[in-house]
Amino acid sequence: MGWAIALHGGAGDIPHSLPPERRLPREACLRHCLQIGVDALTSRKSPLDVIELVVRELENNPHFNAGRGSVLTTSGTVEMEACIMDGKSMRCGAVSGLTTVVNAISLSRLVMEKTPHLAYVGYGLQYIVFYQEYHYTTRMLQGIETVDASHFITQENVERLKQAKEANRVQVDYTQPVEKDVKRDELKPDGDSQIGTVGCVAVDSEGNLAAATSTGGLVNKMVGRIGDTPIICAGTYANSLCAVSATGKGEAIIRGTVARDVAALMEFKGMSLQEAAALVVGDRVPKGHVGLVAVSATGEVTMPFNTTGMFRACATEDGHSEIAIWDS
């Protein structure tokens, strides 16, 4: 038992030759986010607070595919989505199609905790996926910072979109400018690419779990495309056994009901967190497509991936901590 936290900045075909100027800032961000998360856990903040805090940090960092630094749609715009789930109550909130909200994860949390429907009735819907900010009333957006849509766009992503359009495909966001690093057979027009997305899962010393995921989606995605991130069974899940955040090819994650299956294997087959996560990543999704981070109620951590790499970090109360990109 004891607290534990794991976070990711996306799984994908991250080349081993990733130059230092692209690798170091990401590692630094992972390190920074891990520290924030650990500090929050040790000062006994709730897992929901911890994961929101960490994911906000990842969203604000332009090097990851969420918030600022989100990859671009085929129209050159940003459409962000996020999801948060509380393991104890199993309440959840998700948003999609956001264009001006600085921190999608915080809006997800607001949706989970305080929907307008609750203003009408005592009970009511606790999970609503809203599409696009203009659907929200000002009351709803209270406390949620919005900015001009251009804030989220980075030059790196403008470049990525250009390359994707030139190659006429939906693309892995960790594709490097150097073409030879891109594996053509993974970039099928019908396949989502594995990428980006940021996420965080945490458990406190009482075994309370929470999961959060946030993303800009796929480079050159169709406008209006929703990925796995805001889908509870797929990209994000938490119950009383574990909390999971997945990353990679959205379609594979949806079909493989990845996040739910990790918990289902633990619940229905009595597997351990490690076994369950390894099985899902190894068997339920095609190779090269998926990664995830997960923690259990008893303070275990696992971060399996079947892609070249996954930006990740974790720490547990008993002192273990790790920041990595590729296989050790």
Binding site: R91, G124, Q132, D192, G227, I231, G250, E251, R255
Partner: protein
């Protein structure tokens, strides 16, 4: 090779016990008609995926239930429809949300699955895709019925969210003043009625399963609100062992990941189809959530389960079982 075809259709869970007989008859007639269409298709060896689409199109085109024409209205008096479809072999899936001019949402969901690089498209992006695919488009008015306009008015007067269930259509003056204990779903004493989400699951003679769900969502919902019907793993799921479609309280279905869980307990606990449905209804709806589930197995079995008063349904198997029912 399968053990015979089978099909189940639903028109929503949660029915007022006082629903006037003529309404009950109308609903049963529609279900019977759609069931016949599905059975004929299965007898002609149409694959399950074609059958579920065909049947749901029929249900969408009829104004009686809450999908396509006859959809519940948003708070703005418009219709926003969503649907999802899943093909067991290969677990391919497609989903759509926020449709306002697409005549048959389930068919667009199928096109997303087969003709787009993604699994889920929403709002303007989905409509644009629809236009490019040349599907039948109509004005939003086409979907709006006088009955639902009346419902919306009552709902707004009651300032509450409505849900899939019915009360006697004796006119607005009696609504809210019913002597009977009002049917409660989602914590709301329902005072007006709203039509129902629809779904179809089928297994063909090759043992292939498929599932489809379609809805207009909650009466008086906020625009942009997405429910459980388009979410793979929650409202819809199909794999090698079974096809599942759910209806009821969106929140309960989403956090309970009902559709995936039926398949998961079959896969991971070795439960039979009806056992699995019963298990999910009992265990995954344990904190008051109300929902109904229909399912077929690759072995040609049918099953349904619900923990609310009634679910409009029709079931048929190759070995002659046939049932159209509303109540327990």
């Amino acid at each position: 090779m399968g053990r015979g075809w089978a099909i189940v259709i639903h028109g929503g869970a949660g029915v007022d016990p006082n629903l006037p007989l003529h309404h009950q008859e109308e609903a049963k007639k529609l279900i019977s008609r759609c069931l016949s269409i599905g059975v004929s298709a299965l007898r002609c060896s149409l694959p399950a995926i074609d059958v579920v689409e065909l049947v749901v199109r029929e249900l969408e085109s009829d104004p009686l239930f809450n999908s396509g024409r006859g959809s519940a209205l948003t708070e703005k008096g418009t219709v926003e429809m969503e649907a999802s479809i899943m093909d067991g072999p290969g677990r391919r899936c497609g989903a759509v949300s926020g449709l306002t001019t697409v005549k048959n949402p389930i068919s667009l969901a199928r096109l997303v699955m087969e003709k787009s690089p993604h699994s889920y498209l929403a709002f303007a992006g989905a409509e644009e895709f629809a236009r490019r695919q040349g599907v039948e488009m109509v004005e939003n008015e086409y979907f709006i019925t006088e009955l639902n306009k009346g419902m919306l008015k009552l709902a707004q007067e009651a300032n509450s969210i409505l849900f899939d269930y019915r009360v006697p259509n004796t006119g607005s003056e009696t609504c809210g003043a019913s002597m009977e204990k009002p049917l409660i779903m989602n914590g709301l004493p329902i005072s007006v009625y709203a039509p129902e989400t629809v779904g179809c699951v089928a297994v063909d003679s090759q043992g292939q399963c498929a599932a489809a769900t379609s809805t207009g969502g909650l009466m008086n919902k906020m625009t942009g609100r997405i429910g459980d019907s388009p979410l793979i793993g929650s409202g819809t799921y199909a794999g090698n062992l079974c096809g599942v479609s759910c209806t009821g309280e969106g929140e309960a279905i989403i956090r309970g990941t009902l559709a995936r869980d039926v398949a998961a307990v079959m896969e991971y606990k070795g439960l039979g189809l009806q056992e699995a449905v019963d298990f999910v209804v009992k265990e995954r709806l344990d904190n008051g959530g109300k929902a109904g589930i229909i399912a077929v197995s690759r072995d040609g079995e049918v099953a349904c389960g619900f923990n609310c008063t009634g679910m409009f349904r029709g079931l048929a198997t190759e070995d002659g079982f046939l049932e159209v029912a509303i109540w327990d």
